[in-house]
Symmetry: C2
Subunit: 223 residues, 2 copies
DNA sequence: AAAATAATGTGATTTAGGACACTAATCGGA
DNA sequence: TCCGATTAGTGTCCTAAATCACATTATTTT
């Protein structure tokens, strides 16, 4: 597919002219991943920028056998800008959690585009800044809140930022939800159960419906 | 002082030509802060980029009366790029923890420089990427390790990244060290005491000397 | 130098949440 | 359609760490 008529082009890529787009196009692979595939791996050499056109991807950090899900990345989004530009090796892994369509862009071409098109590079700066603000928020959330607050935050995040719906199918297992929120699998189970009992949410396996968003927000905010 | 002969210019600013530097110079204030002064405040409108030429600054996030120190920023460094470029209001505060010399750069001028000089903007992208990788590391550190591991990490950070010395004067109170590492004041006291008893460090008030770096590293890594 | 304020050290108590052990359910493949 | 393998729920126990409550020191302030 040609980049210039791509409908899921990134905000930044709208600043590229025909020549620059065709340059990108000829150095860019279009790939499809099924759910659960590794897109790139922590500690591997990083030589590509990934642009997610469709789907959800988790970025994870693993040390000493312990795994932390850093973020749920939703299309459209660049993946691994920091880890590809900021260092030679990947500081984290990326794994698809739904079916994913992605463009794999050569880092050298990407860097060249950053050099020649300042509108493009400014948009990249913007997105890096916004992503950092998100991380800081998440950092606070995880550090200063306790179990229920962190979990409430995650549910609201899925509802508001990922699915834009009160009811959704959680794309993660309880264990992964634990890795995302810094809880054990058991605590996730119990806390969700508790929310269910209190009629804040309804659960049916992975299907979750937020019944009392106000109360969930309160739990999230008060910690 | 003229920017073009400034010796503590940022890496990025070395890419600016004479004209661009003079543009920056005429829209830039040089300010000195004593330890403990607020440089910018969370929730205030953000209209300046701060460049720290000398000193240490803590960035802090406060919600519901709970405070989290996000990072100890050491000169030379830009402060608040994400919060100034990424949003209209500051998502966090910055407070000097030593005497600080800083340049206050108007955001509009800074943005203009990003637009006209792609080498400058590439270096800014680089520093944003590196800073994000640092945050991710810190995030993991704080999430997955327990008290002693987090504290060990902080001591090593001060020793290796801030002071480049085994002995140093901690620039934070026990309480602040708690806010940085996600511990209570009491646990910080007790754990430092414990390290002292085990002859891993020597303490005299704020003076800290690392005696057994190997063991401290091990505590840091194993969590 | 005295008084006020803030920072630190320490014991006792409480509690959130992790670990383990097991059962039940659900999924995915041949 | 059956079987092994993940995934989920739940009770019990235990530990790390927060909190409380003071005692004790530094540091400012006047």
């Amino acid at each position: 597919m040609k980049c210039y008529k791509c409908l899921s082009k990134s905000e930044a890529a709208h600043n590229l002219d025909a020549e620059q787009l065709s340059k990108m196009e000829s150095n860019c692979g279009q790939v499809k991943y099924e759910a659960g595939e590794v897109i790139f791996k922590q500690n591997a050499l990083s030589s590509n920028i990934i642009y997610i056109r469709k789907g959800l991807v988790k970025t994870t950090l693993e040390i000493n056998g312990r795994q932390q899900i850093l973020k749920i990345n939703k299309a459209p989004a660049y993946l691994g800008l920091p880890t590809t530009i900021g260092d030679k090796i990947n500081h984290y892994s990326a794994v698809s959690i739904t079916d994913v369509s992605a463009c794999i862009i050569d880092i050298n071409v990407f860097n060249e585009l950053l050099r020649v098109n300042s509108d493009f590079s400014y948009d990249i700066i913007l997105s890096l800044c916004k992503s950092e603000l998100e991380y800081l928020n998440a950092c606070f959330n995880r550090m200063q809140k306790q179990s229920a607050g962190r979990l409430a935050e995650s549910l609201l995040y899925f509802s508001e930022s990922i699915y834009n719906a009160d009811a959704f199918t959680l794309p993660l297992t309880r264990c992964e939800l634990g890795n995302l929120t810094g809880n054990s699998r058991e605590i996730v189970s119990r806390t969700l159960q508790k929310f269910h009992q209190d009629e804040i949410i309804a659960i049916d396996g992975k299907l979750i419906k937020i019944l009392d968003k106000k109360r969930l927000n309160q739990i999230c905010k008060s910690g």
